[in-house]
């Protein structure tokens, strides 16, 4: 199922063909994904699906111009005419002196077999369709429906197990050869229950891991049920300023806009509230966000970015100070700054050391609102203002009092992070951003 020698030969041929037909430089990325999926509905197999995807992306640099092209039709002759059309299309575009391949010394040189970071589980090949089905059915709690229904009715249970194999190879005209392989195993369940008053409440739980042995599949459905039942009988509360604790399951939503605002595409367009922030102390000293892209065996680790540039451990925000922008070769050239990396892939927000888990964090904060999920909303990248729908629980004296919903949290990211009180140490390893539960003070809640 991995990229074959023939397919590697085809990728090389595409590169050479582009270079001998009008491109001065080029980059080719060949990728291949194999996926198997089993869907469960109310304790029975509801869906089986199998797929194999292949695609080739060709980036052409010709006469000071640039274009990007892709196809999933990998016949040699067809690709040749595709490349000829691509080169002639590039030559129709306007010149762009900032487009170029990265400097050779910045390229990754040790991604040869694709599994240098240990993200490939070869046992995937031994997982049979029967094993997938049995695991999915064993994860279901539907057969225990009658015993579980206490004070609620179980309306539906939907689950999905999938395993994936991903293989990619990037070549360029200055000798880049960079391979990345990984497997991923995922399981998730969504449960809907009906309360005695007829209202429905749903929740989900999921897990994912690069290695099958690490997949926490046994308790997913139970956890989803527990979370759905906990929402029964929500109370209306007054809007106002509250302390807020954000559960690690969804806390990454508050980090993503910071990373986007530090991206070259936002900064270069003056569409970032973190423009001119490099080296400035904009956040509290206790905030440390680091990218660890070369962590062995962990989700999101990468030896190189989409340009083939070698990744490295990189502080993003250190002791509250902004340490880096994410600049690929193009954006760096346009902004007249040194290039860094295209984006962060294995981000960790370092725990402050105040609390071990969510329970301790709630104890520390004493009174406030625990956010367990976001329901829609958005942020303005230029101003950093945000407004999100939230669901969760009111807590007092360190104890959960009741579920609350139909509420909104509104503010600006700089103010929000300025009000960081503490963090737990409970980031979920299945997430690409390892963000623990977070506590903030004086947050505007509308209800």
């Amino acid at each position: 199922m991995e990229i074959s020698k023939t397919e590697i030969g085809l990728a090389r041929h595409c590169l050479d063909y582009a270079l001998s037909n009008g491109a001065q430089k080029a980059r080719v990325t060949l990728s291949k994904t194999l996926m198997n999926l089993i869907g469960i509905l109310n304790g029975e197999v509801d869906k089986v699906s199998q797929s194999l995807d292949r695609s080739i992306q060709i980036q052409i640099f010709a006469d000071g111009r640039f274009g990007s092209f892709s196809s999933n039709r990998l016949e040699k002759e067809g690709l040749e005419s595709f490349i000829l059309k691509a080169v002639s299309t590039v030559k129709m575009l306007e010149e762009d002196s900032f487009r170029d391949l990265p400097a050779v010394e910045r390229l990754e040189k040790n991604a040869m077999n694709g599994n240098e970071l240990g993200l490939l589980d070869t046992s995937l090949k031994e997982i049979t369709p029967e094993r997938r089905r049995d695991l999915s059915l064993a994860s279901s709690l539907w057969s225990r429906k009658n015993a579980l229904e206490k004070g609620f009715k179980l309306i539906s249970e939907e689950g999905e197990y999938s395993d994936n194999f991903f293989d990619s190879l990037t070549l360029d005209s200055q000798g880049l050869y960079a391979r990345h392989c990984e497997t991923s195993f995922e399981i998730g369940f969504e449960i809907t229950v009906e309360a005695p008053d007829g209202r429905h409440f749903s929740s989900y739980w999921w897990d994912a891991a690069p290695h099958f042995k690490d997949l926490q599949w046994e308790k997913c459905s139970e956890k989803a049920l527990e979370r759905a039942v906990a929402q029964i009988d929500p109370k209306e509360i007054e809007g106002g300023k509250y302390n807020v604790v954000v559960e690690s399951e969804c806390a990454g939503k508050l980090v993503t806009p910071l990373l986007s605002a530090l991206g070259g595409y936002s900064l270069q367009q003056h569409n970032s509230f973190l423009e001119d922030s490099l080296g400035k102390q904009l956040f509290p000293e206790k905030l440390n966000i680091i990218d660890f892209p070369r962590t062995y065996g962990e989700n999101g680790s990468r030896l190189f970015d989409s340009e083939g540039v070698a990744t490295r451990e990189m502080p993003i925000i250190q002791n509250g100070k902004v340490c880096t922008y994410f600049l690929n070769s193009y954006m760096a050239a346009k902004m007249g700054m040194p290039p860094t990396i295209e984006d962060a892939t294995h981000v960790k927000l370092l725990p402050t050391g105040d609390c071990k888990d969510l329970s301790e964090l709630i104890q520390k904060v004493r009174d406030g609102i625990l956010i367990c999920g976001f329901n829609g909303g958005n942020s303005n990248p230029a101003t950093g203002n945000f407004s999100y729908g939230i669901e969760g629980f009111l807590f007092k004296d360190g104890k959960i009092v009741c579920p609350v919903r139909e509420m909104l949290v509104t503010g600006s990211f700089l103010e929000l992070w300025g009000n960081l009180i503490a963090t737990a140490d409970d980031a979920r390893p299945c997430l690409l951003k390892l963000v623990p539960s977070l506590a903030f003070k004086d947050i505007d809640i509308s209800a």
């Binding site: 299309t89 575009l93 010149e95 407004s387």
Partner: protein
């Protein structure tokens, strides 16, 4: 543009005999229904940034999906090749869902879906195919668009204009022997401008997306987009967040249709009701909003992003009343849910591409005009908010809680629009919001923005609404 079937057979290198053989193989384990979906889509895009069109490309996606149903269970497999060997391999993989089920099909009964596609009834005829001209012929239009924005507002400091276009050739065949084909164009322009004033920065995005060819790139369209992207920038620099809480909300005509899509449309999709998860499950025939309100999902409006000649199960595009005079009258069905409920499919079986099995999805969702006047509605509100520009929305199907994000609007104080507001989320509950509709104006607008629905898969949709007053929703703020 609908061609003769030989055109599509040629693209996919298939014939009727092969189609029948694949279906036969797919049902060899005892499935009750099989359908095949062939797709050849070519995409192109051009990006104007920093005053020049310096980026562009095209992309090809080709393949076929095989679906086998066994009762309401689905087996699905696809291939990026349409060779007989690969199609038969897909058929065997999809057939794994079935094991000796009785081969009785409840899915192939709808007579309206029979018949040969009629080019004269095409809802998106193309006058100028996107690939009929070289890509550089579109550069002047983009450059002119930027010049028009600059001329209208010198505070504009950055502008990104992205022109994307696609053409999809589709062929569908099923175990009832129905053969359908379609060619679907889609052209989209999105514009994001950044404005600077006194050291402050604001952005604004607008878009237009139609099932049309390159003939849509008219001077009138660039005029319209340029005016839209600079409209309201003064207010945006002045805008503040309001004091949050529950208040009356007046939804401006047009893009406020996102409210219908999120708050009601998803909950009317029959898969959620079949599984019992939707808050509207079991409410068919019940009053769910005041008399006089009609809510529709329509695939028949020519040229709209959400319109279809046929859905992705080969059912003809049609207009479906979900709510008539305040009564819930229909869910949105694919073949599975229609068979479950014993009704005809409504033409809502849609998929992102051949890689996905179809699901009940919206097309163009809107509310019909009422009798009130928009100005009178605003005058009737003592304290509330008027909203007219949106980015995204979301719904929780089980609970019915929905949200949508307001890019701009105004406070309403004593019947007058006063302070501009921006960047706030609004949250409500679908059934409660429907019941709380107090007035509907006579000014329905179908929005032509590039709306995309993301329920498991991405599909293009449209939405619209007249000016509507909802008694109370929760508005985010200080």
């Amino acid at each position: 543009m609908i061609f003769q079937k030989e055109h599509y057979f040629g693209i996919f290198s298939i014939d009727t005999t092969l189609l029948q053989k694949v279906v036969s193989e797919a049902l060899s384990s005892g499935g009750s229904w099989c359908d095949l979906f062939f797709e050849n889509t070519s995409y192109g895009n051009l990006l104007l940034r920093d005053g020049a069109v310096t980026s562009g490309g095209f992309h090809v996606d080709f393949g076929a999906g095989v679906r086998v149903l066994s009762g309401e269970k689905t087996g699905y497999a696809y291939s990026e090749s349409t060779s007989p060997a690969d199609l038969l391999s897909c058929a065997r993989a999809a057939s794994a869902i079935a094991s000796g089920a009785t081969p009785v099909s409840p899915y192939g009964t709808p007579n309206p879906s029979r018949g040969t596609p009629n080019p004269n009834a095409d809802r998106y005829p193309v006058l100028k195919g996107w690939e009929s001209a070289p890509m550089d012929s579109y550069l002047p239009w983009l450059q002119e668009l930027e010049a028009k924005v600059k001329a209208l507002d010198p505070r504009m400091v950055k502008l990104i204009a992205n022109l994307s276009f696609q053409s999809s050739d589709i062929l569908m065949y099923n175990s009832a022997g129905e053969l359908k084909w379609d060619s679907r164009p889609l052209g989209s322009i999105s514009l994001m401008a950044v404005f600077s004033q006194n050291g402050l920065t604001e952005n604004k995005s607008v878009s237009r997306s139609l099932r049309a060819g390159a003939e849509m790139l008219t001077p009138e369209l660039s005029d319209s987009l340029a005016r839209e992207v600079v409209k309201g920038i003064d207010q945006r620099f002045e805008a503040r967040r309001p004091k949050g809480g529950q208040m009356s909300v007046v939804m401006g005509a047009g893009a406020s249709g996102i409210l219908l899509h999120e708050a009601m449309g998803h909950a009317f999709e029959a898969d959620f009701n079949r599984k019992g998860t939707s808050i509207f499950a079991g409410k068919m025939g019940s009053r769910i909003c005041p008399e006089g309100i009609n809510i529709i999902d329509d695939g028949t409006i020519p040229g709209l992003r959400g319109s279809l000649n046929y859905d992705d199960e080969g059912i003809p595009g049609q207009k479906t009343y979900m709510v008539e005079d305040g009564i819930l009258t229909s869910y949105l069905h694919d073949r599975i849910s229609a068979a479950h409920y014993g009704v005809r499919p409504t033409g809502n079986g849609r998929r992102e591409s051949f890689r996905y099995a179809p699901l009940p999805r919206m097309r163009c969702t809107y509310m019909e005009s009422g009798n009130a006047k928009a100005d009178d509605i605003i005058s009737s509100v003592a304290k509330g908010i008027f909203v007219d520009e949106f980015s995204n929305g979301q719904v929780q199907i089980g609970e019915g809680d929905f949200t949508f994000f307001v890019k701009s609007g105004f406070l309403i104080e004593n019947g007058r629009l006063t302070m501009p507001v921006k960047d706030i989320n609004i949250i409500g509950n679908g059934p409660a919001a429907l019941a709380d509709i107090r007035a509907v104006a006579n000014d329905l607008i179908i929005d032509q923005g590039a709306w995309t629905c993301g329920k498991e898969q991405s599909v293009p949709v449209s939405c619209g609404i007249p000016t509507v007053l909802i008694d109370k929703l929760t508005v985010g703020g200080e």
